[in-house]
């Protein structure tokens, strides 16, 4: 059991900077999800923890140990690969056993670590297999397993050596939707049972939201924000996070701050949205901003300040997405299916929940409020 700490870690492949000055502390026993779009450096960060890539700059610690120069096999880490990387020539049992063969383990109190006996190995293999429901498949080879079963074998192989941290690189991406939902829950349970550090890479925000203790959002190799899923969702630190997290994404429209005697507002083209005057005290008149409101925080309201014309309506069963034109931008409003029907061409009056209005600096993209 260990914490994992990146301190100013950079990884370059020739000209490409895959990970840029990453500083991130992953607590002991935490379920940390690295989230970001394709190519943002998630896998690279994970592989540096595993010792499969070297660190170009900065220090990487696991527990108390700086591991920059520690070989992968000596890091006491298990990894579940996206392709599972099972040994095709070995049975399930031998696959699960493989991390136990070469290493030494602390078995006897006060004695130096030693190799496990065949009996000890098979006991641990059985235990891991049982906990993942693989007992009946032990004699098969990977080619004779379904995708979900392979994934379980990969998990069993990861847990069998009781490593101090688990690394997983998009382990669910090869499963169908139903199995993926089920496996998410099982992974969370597994994490609770093992109480060990998990570092989990995905570009799927649903996985991140449902499983993570904390999410680290990466973009172009740089850390954008770290925090619990709810915090990242509710207070995105910058425009990238605001737009990346949430589906459909947050509406973002550029505007200008206007101060009047009565309060503070944002001017969008010909329209105006009032802001909470207390919360937005520091904003000067004339400041350029990008205003962001999530689709569910917009509501149709006869008294609404903002008028927008409906372009299209997407019906999703339990809810409805209304796409409108506003100040030459598209914005999306989320409504329950039971709300009053709207049709393209209608002009809606909208209000934004003032507690959920986000403002960003259009130049730095940083959050302002």
């Amino acid at each position: 059991m260990s914490e994992v700490a990146f301190d100013g870690v950079t990884k370059r492949f020739g000209e490409v900077t895959a990970v840029d000055q990453l500083t991130l502390d992953i607590a002991d026993g935490e379920f940390m999800v690295l989230l970001g779009p394709s190519g943002c450096g998630k896998t690279t960060a994970l592989r540096m923890i595993a010792g499969l890539e070297t660190v170009t700059e900065g220090t990487l610690r696991i527990g108390d140990r700086v591991v920059n120069d520690v070989e992968a096999k000596d890091r006491d880490i298990a990894m579940v690969f996206q392709s599972y990387a099972l040994y095709p020539h070995m049975t399930v049992a031998r696959n699960i056993e493989s991390p136990l063969v070469a290493r030494r383990f602390h078995v006897d109190a006060d004695a130096p670590p030693r190799k496990l006996t065949a009996a000890e190995r098979s006991e641990r293999v059985d235990q891991a297999a049982r906990s993942l429901g693989l007992t009946d498949l032990m004699g098969r080879k990977p080619a004779a397993l379904s995708g979900g079963q392979r994934q379980r074998v990969a998990l069993a192989r990861a847990i069998v050596a009781r490593p101090s941290a688990f690394l997983m690189d998009e382990p669910l991406s090869n499963l169908d939707a139903k199995l993926r939902a089920q496996t998410r829950i099982e992974l969370v349970e597994l994490h609770e049972r093992l109480a060990t550090t998990f570092v989990y890479v995905t570009h799927d925000q649903v996985e991140a939201m449902t499983m993570a203790d904390r999410i680290a959002v990466l973009n172009e190799g740089r850390l954008q924000q770290v925090g619990p899923p709810q915090a990242v969702y509710e207070r995105p630190h910058n425009l990238f996070v605001a737009r990346f997290i949430g589906s459909p994404p947050m509406n973002t429209v550029p505007g200008t701050v206007v101060r009047t005697d009565t309060g503070v507002a944002v001017q969008l083209g010909g329209q105006r949205i009032d802001l909470d005057p207390v919360a937005h005290e520091p904003l000067a008149d004339g400041t350029e901003v990008v205003i962001g409101v999530r689709p569910e925080h917009l509501a149709v309201d006869p008294d609404g300040q903002v008028k927008a014309q409906v372009r299209a309506v997407e019906w999703l069963g339990h809810e409805r997405l209304v796409v409108c034109d506003l100040a030459e931008h598209h914005i999306t409003v989320r409504q329950s299916s039971g709300a009053e029907p709207v049709a393209p061409g209608d002009v809606l009056a909208l209000t934004a929940d003032p507690a959920h209005v986000h403002l960003f600096d259009p130049n730095t993209t940083e959050r302002l409020n």
Binding site: G51, L52, E53, T54, D69, E71, A72
Partner: protein, 278 residues
């Protein structure tokens, strides 16, 4: 290639040393042939046959051409190789097309019969085949040199593998467009499988150029010797002239070496076809 991690400089240096040592071992025989080819034979022997040239005579290569009639042998080899490669490409493509895209009775059986010929190397059928050639009066002639090699099951197999990657829908679509089989073959099948065709062509070239046993059996006159057979005479020449033979051996290998460097990918693909999955 997951082994390049954490390679300290000394490890890299060690690998370069190992690789260089292996390269030297592999190239040494060629180097020695080169040394002997350019050394003046008598002086070389008198100098105690050292691993470096003695009295280098650079015209050994050009003299090999004139003295050993290497030019004529190159011509014979070139004609034989060209005919064999062209014929094998044609016959194999046609047969592979039939086995892939056409339905006819006994298709499977005929395919296995074709493949069975792979079990019959020329070494096995040598005696009756030479007799056939002799009875046709084709000893010492181009037809005799090429006839048994105008078709090959290996090519049929390889090209069929390539053709099988083409969706049948393409054939149906092209027939709706009013194209016949030969048009489909020319317009779609061959262009789409060009890498496979290229690999096969290269392999066919390699084996045709390098043949030994068959031409040795059907050629009795120096005029009809291929370059490979010409090399045998080297060993029979006197010590005064054998350097020309060694020069000839290097010259004979040269076209293939150039081909190997230029078309490495095709050659590797052709050679590994069937050996490695995927």
């Amino acid at each position: 290639m997951g082994t390049e991690l954490f390679q300290p400089t000394w490890k890299k240096v060690a690998w370069y040393a190992v690789l260089t040592a292996l390269a030297v071992v592999i190239l040494f025989p060629v180097y020695m042939t080169f040394v002997r080819a350019i050394s003046q034979p008598r002086a070389y022997v008198l100098a105690g046959q050292p691993p470096w040239p003695v009295h280098p005579e650079w015209d050994a290569f050009s003299r090999a051409f004139s003295l050993g009639d290497l030019g004529r042998k190159f011509l014979v080899s070139a004609v034989v190789t060209t005919v064999i490669v062209a014929a094998q490409l044609t016959t194999s493509t046609l047969a592979a097309y039939a086995f892939t895209f056409l339905q006819f009775p006994f298709r499977r059986l005929l395919f296995y019969v074709f493949m069975a010929t792979l079990m019959l190397p020329i070494e096995v059928t040598l005696i009756p085949n030479v007799q056939t050639i002799r009875s046709l009066d084709w000893l010492n002639s181009y037809p005799g040199l090429v006839a048994p090699f105008l078709a090959t099951a290996f090519g049929t197999f390889l090209l069929r593998q390539g053709f099988r990657g083409i969706p049948r829908d393409l054939l149906d679509a092209s027939q709706l467009d009013g194209f016949g089989h030969l048009a489909f073959l020319r317009r779609v099948a061959i262009p789409v499988t060009r890498p496979v065709v290229a690999s096969f062509a290269v392999i066919a070239f390699l084996s045709a150029w390098n043949q030994y046993t068959w031409p040795r059996a059907v050629v009795t006159e120096g005029r009809w010797e291929t370059v490979q057979i010409g090399l045998k005479t080297v060993t029979a020449t006197t010590a005064e002239q054998n350097n020309l033979g060694f020069a000839a051996a290097l010259v004979v290998a040269l076209p293939i070496l150039v081909l190997l460097i230029v078309l490495q990918r095709q050659i590797v693909r052709g050679l590994t076809a069937g050996a490695v999955k995927g």
